[in-house]
Symmetry: C2
Subunit: 344 residues, 2 copies
C-alpha cells in the first residue's frame, strides 16, 4: 500500500532528496555518476513522482487546460487531437478535463487553474448564457471555442471562436427554399433549449418568413426534454415516425444535428419513402458519417480543424504578446449532397 517516495530513492542511494529531485528534473549541476545511480534506483523501485505534490509546490507550470463539455459529442473528438498538436508546438503541456452537460464548466475551470497551475484555458462546448460575473473569476486567459455567449456580455471580457448558429441555419433553410422545397419540417431541440438548438430553430423561422412561407406550428417537431437524448439517431428516428403518422404534408426534413438527420433517413427509407425524391433531408454540423450514408446527407459543416487551430493561436497571442481579447467567427461550409439533390 505504502508507495515509494522520493525519500526512499534518496535513502537507497545515500543522497539527499534534493539530489534526487535534481536528477528527476534534469538539472545541470549534478554529477553524471550519481545521476545514473539515482535513475537506476528509480527504475528498480518503480518510483513515480506524486503529481499532486509537484503541482502543490510549483508556483507555475506550462500547461493549458481544456474543458470539454459533452464528451460524447463527436465533433469534439476531432478537435482534441488538433488542439493537442498545436499546443505542443508552443512547448506547452495540456490537460483535458471532460465534464457532463450538467456540470458547471466555470467551476471546473477554477479548480483546474489551482490544481494544475494552468497558464490558460480553452473551453469546448458549454452554455451560451454565461454571466459576466462568472467569466471574471477566471484569472488566466481563456478562449471559448464553439460556444455562443449571450450578447449582453461585453465582448472585451472574453475571447471566442465560433460559428453563428442562427445565421448558418438561415443559410441552410435559404438553400432548401432555393431548391424549391415548400413544406420544410424542422426537427428541433427540446423546448427549453438555451443553446444552439434554439438558435437554429430561430434561423429556420426567420428564413421561412423571408421566403414568404408562413410558419406552420405543425411543422415544428421538438425533441423530448431530456437534454441527453436530443442529439441521437434514435431521437430522429422517432420524430420521423411521428411525422409520417401525423399525416402532415412535407417534402423536406431539416434536422438541427446530423445524428437526428440519420435517424430520420432510416425511418423514411424503411417506409419506402425515397430520399430526396419524395422527401429531402438535411442535417447540421458536418459529421463524417453524413458522407458515408446512402444517400449521402446534406449538411452545414463546421470547420472544426481551423477553429481548433485558431483557438490555440488566440490563446498564445494573449499569453505571449499580452494582446486584448479576440473574437473569430468562422463560416460553415454547405455540403450539398444526394439527400437534397432534386431537380425543380
Amino acid at each position: 500500500m505504502e508507495s515509494v517516495t522520493i525519500k526512499d530513492i534518496a535513502k537507497k542511494c545515500n543522497v539527499a532528496v534534493s539530489t534526487v529531485s535534481r536528477a528527476l528534473n534534469n538539472h545541470p549541476d549534478i554529477n553524471e555518476q550519481t545521476r545514473q545511480k539515482i535513475l537506476k534506483a528509480i527504475q528498480e523501485l518503480h518510483y513515480i513522482p506524486n503529481n499532486s505534490a509537484q503541482n502543490l509546490k510549483k508556483t507555475a507550470s506550462k500547461t493549458i487546460g481544456i474543458v470539454v463539455k459533452g464528451a460524447d459529442n463527436p465533433l469534439f473528438a476531432k478537435m482534441r487531437s488538433i488542439l493537442a498538436e498545436n499546443i505542443a508546438q508552443y512547448d506547452y503541456d495540456y490537460y483535458f478535463e471532460y465534464i457532463s452537460i450538467r456540470e458547471d464548466e466555470i467551476r471546473t475551470a477554477l479548480r483546474l487553474i489551482k490544481e494544475k497551475r494552468l497558464k490558460g484555458l480553452i473551453f469546448l462546448g458549454g452554455n451560451y448564457d454565461r454571466k459576466l460575473e462568472d467569466l471574471q473569476q477566471l484569472t488566466v486567459p481563456f478562449v471559448m471555442s464553439t460556444v455562443n455567449i449571450q450578447e449582453e456580455v461585453p465582448r472585451a471580457a472574453f475571447s471566442s471562436v465560433f460559428t453563428d448558429s442562427y445565421k448558418e441555419s438561415r443559410r441552410m433553410v435559404e438553400y432548401l427554399c432555393r431548391k424549391g422545397f415548400q413544406k420544410i419540417v424542422i426537427f428541433a431541440g427540446s423546448k427549453n433549449d438555451a443553446s444552439v438548438g434554439n438558435l437554429r430553430l430561430k434561423g429556420y423561422l426567420d428564413e421561412l418568413a423571408a421566403n414568404q412561407i408562413p410558419p406552420d406550428e405543425n411543422r415544428i417537431f421538438f425533441s423530448p426534454d431530456q437534454a441527453e437524448d436530443v442529439f441521437t439517431m434514435e431521437n430522429g428516428y422517432r420524430m420521423a415516425k411521428k411525422l409520417i403518422q401525423s399525416g402532415i404534408a412535407f417534402d423536406c426534413i431539416y434536422a438541427i444535428a446530423d445524428a437526428i438527420a440519420i435517424g430520420a433517413c432510416k425511418a423514411l427509407l424503411e417506409k419506402g419513402i425515397r430520399i430526396p425524391q419524395e422527401c429531402a433531408v438535411a442535417g447540421f454540423d458536418g459529421l463524417d458519417v453524413t458522407r458515408y450514408y446512402h444517400p449521402s446527407i446534406t449538411t452545414m459543416r463546421q470547420p472544426i480543424e481551423k477553429m481548433a487551430e485558431e483557438s490555440v493561436r488566440i490563446l498564445f497571442s494573449r499569453l505571449h504578446k499580452k494582446t486584448e481579447n479576440e473574437h473569430c467567427e468562422f463560416s460553415c461550409e454547405l455540403l450539398q449532397r444526394e439527400s437534397t439533390n432534386r431537380e425543380r
Copy 2:
C-alpha cells in the same frame, strides 16, 4: 493570479484554518453559526479547495479510477455513463483519465493511485500483451474491461470482463458461411496489430478452414499501419475501392469493425453494387449507427452495458468482501440485419 486559500477564509472569519476545514468537510463538532459564517465567506470569496493539497494530505479516499485508452472509441462513450452510475451507487467517487493509444496505461494507473489515493481501478481498452510483472505493480484491486490479456499471464493475477474476440469472430464467419457466402473478403486491422484486430482475423481464417474453404491471401485486406486510422469509415471506403478495382471475386465483406463496414458499404453502393444481393457486408461491435444505416448492417454486438455493470460489481466484491480475482466472459449478440439477408 493569487488564488484564495483556506487561510484567507479563516482570516476573514476570524477563525482558525482547522475550523474552516471542519466546515468544509461536514464535521459534526462545529457550531452552526460559525459554519454558516464560513460558508458565506466561501461563497463571497469564490473559494475552491485545492484538490492537489487535499489528495496530498489524505491517506485514503473513496475514489475509483477509470483509465480509458482510446477516447474516440464510440463503444467507450456509452460505458462511461453506466460505470459512473454504478460506482455512484456504492457511494464512491470516480475519476476518468483518457489516454492515447501510445501511452502506457499501467504507468498512468500507478500515477493515479498515488495522486488520487485510488481504492480501485477499471481499465477500458488497452493492450492484451501485458506482462505479469506490470500487473503486479498495481497495489489496488483492478478490473480489465474489454481487454484481452495474454494467456501466459496467470489468471489469478487480475480480474477481467471481456468478450472472446477470436471465438465471436468465428461465430460471425460461421454465420456468413451458413448464409451461403463463398468468397468472403476480410477487412482486417494493420499487419502489426497486437490486439482485437489480429484475433478477429485469426477467427476468420480458422472458421473458413473449418468450412472447407481454402484460405486466399488475396481476400485479406490489411489496414495501413498507422493505428489511429484503422477504425474509420474512410479506411473501409478505401479498402473497398481497392477491392473493387482489384478484380478479385467476392460476394461478402467482413469488416473487423463497424466503422470500416460503413465505409465499405458506401463504396459498394456508389458503384451500384447492391447489398446484400451482389455483396453482403458484416461489421463488428454493434455500434448504434449500424441499425440506422440503409441497409441496416449485420454486426456482432458487444453487451457493453452489462459488461460495465459487471466490471463495477467485481471490483467492489474485491474491495468489500476481499474476494479473489474473477473473470467474466460475455457473449456477443449476432444482430442479423439487411446487409446479409439474402436467400440461398
